[in-house]
Symmetry: D2
Subunit: 328 residues, 4 copies
């Protein structure tokens, strides 16, 4: 049994708490959050204790930490946990600043603890199957990837201001997905973007609609289609075209009932929010982290993966501003 | 917190044990099964105790029983639990003999305990949505219902011999579904059947393929299409046609990935087995039973529902043998 | 070049006129219709002549007749054409009275002219593919067939009164389809029906909603689901289940555009009317008839097929009235 | 009745010949082609005469020409026809050289004859419906367009060498489609491409796989995904995302039959080739040209549209070579 200290009791922390508590091999040992109310509620629900970060670090019963706190605390907490020899599951991103990420990963390396970065979509059964089927040769050589990724509604401008911008906050998932599916590093990136959804986002210096093109050394290409808005729910699809076929991962619908009437045949909408859409992905990534804790696996998304996705986000931003393709 | 004694630690008992244990309002208090190995395994897994049936009945901490034992023990256990004032969740059917069912329900009535019969499919979100949408008037007046229900593979002939036959064992779910969706009792039934899947089923005096037609007083009709075999997984669909439209509940596919190649576009198969296909239905019916325990609801599937579905099965068999429509 | 006399210039005659005129091997030689206006319009459009029925029969240039006149004239016109040695394409049915059909077919036999009965749906590429795939063994042994066939809207009661009733007028297509797909004759039929769509149809002594069950000597079964009304267009589907799989022929949609919005994903309706839905079937059956004229094929739907479909309609009616399965 | 001289009796000329001949308002008056065998075959089939280009120009019975000859003859033939006062339907492109296009259009302008450029896809009912629905406000303000356009198999390298390259030969259709759907001119273009399908194409200096990004003054964007190869047939789709929804135009499948078996559910492939896929589009564009001949419409695709699509192709090539976004 592995005891987990959960650092951060907000929305995403609650998702992980449930997975930690229901997994046979893990116990939610303690909850750490400066927001006492949030921390206490979660601790009560899962019969865990409340700890300060120092207590959790000093507690020899804590085998691992799950970092689900505010983005700007991730790097510090990773370093702290590494220094105390705890295994680390950290929500993306490590940090919004690439230099800080690199420093942090050096510390992790030095203390040699496992670090898993929670790019949850890699564990979605649909997207994973596309990769597996492609590796099994079902479409020959992959040639072009189209990722369509649209959020149901834009974040508040306050959040946008501290988010690092759309590419570092939202598209970073798609950069990681492109890396996951294609299995090679891109050699160039081009980005185009607009502020169409909410003027407040533009006023905060950000965009909300974007197209990105990645080119690989093999000649293969990928494109990412992003929007902060989708009137029909969370739009999460991808298509991988190869020399011998095409693999398409479609949306998961809320139900399988169709209504036929005078105006046509109406199906349900895609699952509306990431908590539902990626519920099984969150469970699967926890299953993977348990295998890491057992020494049966190395982290499928490492600190290195976190760094590389952020690097692509930075370079996409450079392309957006320079209006040219950027070599990587 | 309601403490539940689980009577029966087999396959379906295990499904319920998980739902009981993970629900916030219920505890798996004890496991009762003459098969000590099965019982012990489940008890250990969920930190429950082992009890004999007498101990469970005498235990004032036990608020309710979940009967998941062999079919021929259901009626006896229901009566026993009723006499001890326990609330009852019983897997379908109450009994294979209609007279025995009626006697049993009298006892339940006398002791006035809640009895819920586990027709799980009523709690499937797809089928439930069809009913809800129909009640909301989305297709006008319902006129005809088509239920397609095919098992992935036939049961062994040994089981067939004690199953009460296809209509009482398998079609009974579809009879209940027709009652659930149409909301009125049929006035006639006609059944046609064949032994096509496994000669051993025929040798055991049963059929494995059937079409049934139900007629309602309103003039509406329903048909049930059954097979004990489906090469493509568990086929569970229905369509309700009304004066102003059609509602179709399709299969749930194993995944949403499509492969396009030289031979066409291939989608995943339907969920293969009832444990996966009706996973959310099992959870939802437990949620409902908790509401019953809390006194916030009366059982949506009562003993009466169990009796009526069995009655339809009996009359369908009479029609099959007499080659005529049977009035109800 | 084969010269065709078209007997009947109404709606269905116009469909055939277009196919006759555009086929490279046939000429619309003449149009025969007591309604002079209809006849003249078609003749002008395709540069054909107007003839009386006697002129057409006497005209040695006329190689074949296409009978698209009122139902009660079919048998007489078939006999007349047979006696004049013309090849015959006749819209279904030969006649509504089975004895009259048999007398008529004797005459055809005596004069040994080819007679094709226009069960157009056999030539629909979807349904034909189901048969071809089944014969190729793609689903093992066929075990059960479900035909769903709903008209967009009911006919006027005036028509209902002379139509021979729903089974002889509408379901006859589905009886023929069942015969076409299953390739064996049923041994029993059961029918259940209601008057739900239009009270005037009931007042005319007919039904508008029906379920029919056919049983075959092999143990295979078929069911037909009929309605004179469909709020969502012409509903024309079938499913053939076999020991190793399932073949489904779905509706043809009016277009392939999908709209996603707040209320779901909406697809187009099925093609609304038989003229659009079976446009390619009409062209294909004419292609087949040309092969018959060339002596390269015998009629795929013969007078015998017409007779057998009508026999099933008669027996279904007997079942409906007697409330029992009728042996064939 | 309008008499049409068909200039070019090859594959695409044959498609147009059939539409000209079956349209009630047009006659295939003559066929002009230096390949005498091709010309004679078509002329015989449709009872048209053979003419030299000079005879056709001098013939006062010829009201319009349909130019379906080799690409490098288009501009000369357009000028010739314009000088003789004939209305002109010309297959795309006017010419591969933009300067030559502009000179040619000046001549057309001077002689004031109608010129229609055959961008057939604008007349596809699916794509047209997307535009109509968007204009009707069904998705709010259009924000991003994704066009996926893949040919079933690459052209021979010999053709590639004279084709003007992938952008001018193949993508030009997609540039026109983007212009058609978005209804505004892009302000920048970026192109990325590879040679992945056939090394001979690379040896001929061309690419066979491309992603293109267009940006509009409104901030809206479009992307084009191209490949010269598709293992699963002709892949012709588009999606238009707007502030209030999404419109998707999917592929047209060869049939609507689905096969369920042990390996999944298999649907038919997309229509394999442009002749089938755009059959109704070719008929609809001819219908439109007849309206132009009647003076009831002006050409929906004018010479100006041809020029603008070619301009986008040229600029995309400039972007591909310069590895930067090109302003328009």
């Amino acid at each position: 049994m592995f005891n987990i200290a959960l650092l951060g009791a907000g929305r995403i922390g609650q998702v992980h708490a449930a997975n930690i508590a229901t997994h046979k091999a893990t116990t939610l040992w303690s909850v750490v959050d400066p927001n006492h109310e949030f921390a206490a509620r979660l601790a009560t629900q899962y019969q865990a204790r409340l700890q300060s970060i120092d207590e959790a670090m000093a507690d020899p019963n804590v085998h691992a930490v799950l970092i689900a706190s505010a983005t700007d605390t991730h790097a510090d907490l990773i370093e702290l946990a590494a220094r105390h020899g705890k295994a680390i599951f950290c929500e993306k991103p490590v940090h919004l600043d690439l230099a800080r990420v690199r420093d942090c990963l050096k510390v992790v390396n030095e203390y040699d603890v496992p670090l898993f970065i929670g790019f949850n979509r890699r564990f979605d059964p649909q997207f994973r199957r596309v990769k597996t089927d492609a590796l099994a040769g079902r479409i020959g050589t992959p040639e072009s990837l189209v990722i369509i990724s649209r959020d149901p509604s834009p974040p508040p401008a306050d959040y946008v201001r501290v988010s690092g911008g759309m590419f570092r906050d939202m598209t970073i998932h798609d950069f990681d997905m492109a890396r996951f599916i294609m299995g090679e590093e891109p050699v160039s990136v081009y980005a185009q973007g607009s502020n169409l959804v909410d003027p407040a986002i533009g006023a905060a210096g950000d965009i909300d609609t974007a197209f990105i093109v990645l080119k690989y050394a093999s000649g293969a290409m990928a494109t990412i289609v992003n929007s902060r808005r989708s009137a029909y729910g969370y739009d999460q699809r991808l298509e991988l075209h190869g020399s011998e076929g095409l693999l398409c991962a479609g949306n998961i619908l809320e139900n399988q009932v169709q209504h036929y009437g005078q105006n046509g045949c109406t199906s349900a909408l895609p699952e509306h929010f990431f908590l539902q859409r990626y519920q099984s992905a969150y469970a699967a990534e926890w299953e993977h982290f348990v295998a890491v804790l057992r020494g049966e696996a190395v982290p499928e998304c490492s600190g290195d993966d976190g760094e590389r996705a952020l690097y692509l986000a930075d370079k996409a931003l450079e392309s957006l501003h320079s209006q040219r393709e950027v070599s990587l």
